[in-house]
Symmetry: C2
């Protein structure tokens, strides 16, 4: 197991914000990342399509002999984690929702938790369900308020992280969350951490932002530490990472570096071979 | 030929703005529309991927026995029209670029033509090339200025057609075009017609906007009229249309109606069966 890589996937390169955290938390681990850039985004698509994509993405990572799967995509984590677990065939699977819900319930003082994410994530109600469960476990009464913020993804990709248009849009999306005086806000999309500054400014300093990717990366580190304590892991000195993508668009390097916070490794191109059938 | 449908495709449902024009111009023609909603958008993806998608989309329409293909997607028209023509196997193919360039050169008074579109369309330089050719044919000196407006697509899909954020973003994107005093602006993306009001307000009343889909629909009507004059066409009284999509997302009806300007016909689901290979 020791030398097998961690498999990480996302609809595109937003999941690089999670890889950034993994580089910090488990610097000696090899990572195989797949970004499905030929079919991105997932967050605006139907549950059925996201489930199919999640299964295919996991199967691709499995072929690289990974030892665990990180679904670095909130849309997949919210709607298709069972498909990922099935395709992972008994390997540990880390989604974005569960760990983040646990952290949010732990952190909140007034019990009012806000959730922002893609259309698909918000429509799934997955965060609400996970927070309700955690409220029982931690014996802490919590209420939730959620809001889909579909324009945040293209704004993050465009790199308008401090543009006045982003301020105006954040103001509009986050208004209700501000009115309801939440004290904790879950960034329920791996693209959102690059918009942390504008979101924090809009929400004010008393609201704690929770980066779902950072929380998940912490859980990965804890799990690997347990493995190591049990003597089943030895760390790599100079881990070699693998970056797989289904499309290499024009702005790939620029956008990737914005999310990863450093130079991107060289990418290998995965080609989806497709044929269609018409449903009856 | 008479009874065979017109095949129209787009990366998603933005091409419905072209169907809207076809309904006006050729109301007795049957239309088979394919929207590749499982892989939308195309405009942010690489030329190689867009070419593969365009070929697959055309092959799908061909299986419906269409008599002509309308590539109702500027990104495809700008980067992959040869692939469409090849897959169309000798059938007439109408793209968005050529007809629109011809119209723009005809309409401009001061010879300064602006072009807005997706990243892929603008990077291709296809409009510039077509306008240069038309300038020679029409013996009219023209210069062009182009600008990629990637946020216009998600804004159109979100339905923020008159939102203050859209005004701010339009102001930013169109500033240079305004400074250069263009008098004609090509809406080089089938999503943009729903943003006509805000774009016209930002550019001022002296700038003529050219809707690429409307111009292409007019060309389709002219071609069919020629066919009819040659006695090879008889119109349908009550044409039945077919709507095919590769995904039916949550907001499909709402967004579709925004582009089509009326209720959407019932959609049939096309499933892409995919398998992957890793490029060497």
């Amino acid at each position: 197991m020791a030398d097998r890589p961690i498999g990480v996937f996302d609809s595109g390169i937003g999941g690089m914000t999670v890889v950034k955290e993994l580089f910090e938390m488990v610097p000696n681990e090899r990572i195989v990342y797949f970004g499905d850039t030929a079919r991105v985004p997932y967050g605006t698509k139907s549950v059925e399509t996201v489930r199919r994509y999640a299964r295919e993405d996991t199967e691709l990572l499995m072929s690289f002999g990974v030892k665990m799967i990180v679904a670095a995509c909130n849309t997949v984590s919210a709607t298709a984690l069972e498909e990922v677990e099935h395709a992972a065939n008994g390997l540990p699977v880390i989604g974005m929702i569960g760990p983040c819900a646990k952290e949010a319930v732990k952190v909140t003082r007034n019990g009012r938790i806000g959730i922002i994410g893609t259309e698909a994530t918000i429509a799934s109600g997955a965060y609400e369900k996970a927070i309700a469960e955690e409220s029982l476990i931690q014996e802490k009464l919590c209420e939730t308020l959620s809001k889909a913020c579909p324009l945040f993804v293209p704004l993050a990709e465009e790199g308008w992280t401090s543009h006045v248009a982003t301020e105006v849009i954040a103001e509009e999306y986050l208004r209700d969350l501000n009115v309801k005086e939440i004290d904790t806000l879950i960034l329920g999309c791996t693209h959102y951490p690059v918009l942390t500054d504008v979101i924090q400014r809009t929400m004010g300093p008393r609201v704690t932002l929770i980066n779902s990717g950072a929380v998940a990366a912490k859980l990965v580190a804890e799990m690997l530490e347990l493995e190591r304590t049990a003597g089943r892991q030895t760390p790599n000195e100079n881990p070699e990472h693998t970056l797989l993508v289904s499309d290499i668009p024009r702005k790939f390097q620029t956008v990737g570096e914005r999310f990863l916070g450093r130079a991107m490794p060289e990418a290998r191109h995965v080609v989806w071979k497709e044929s269609w059938t018409l449903e009856p």
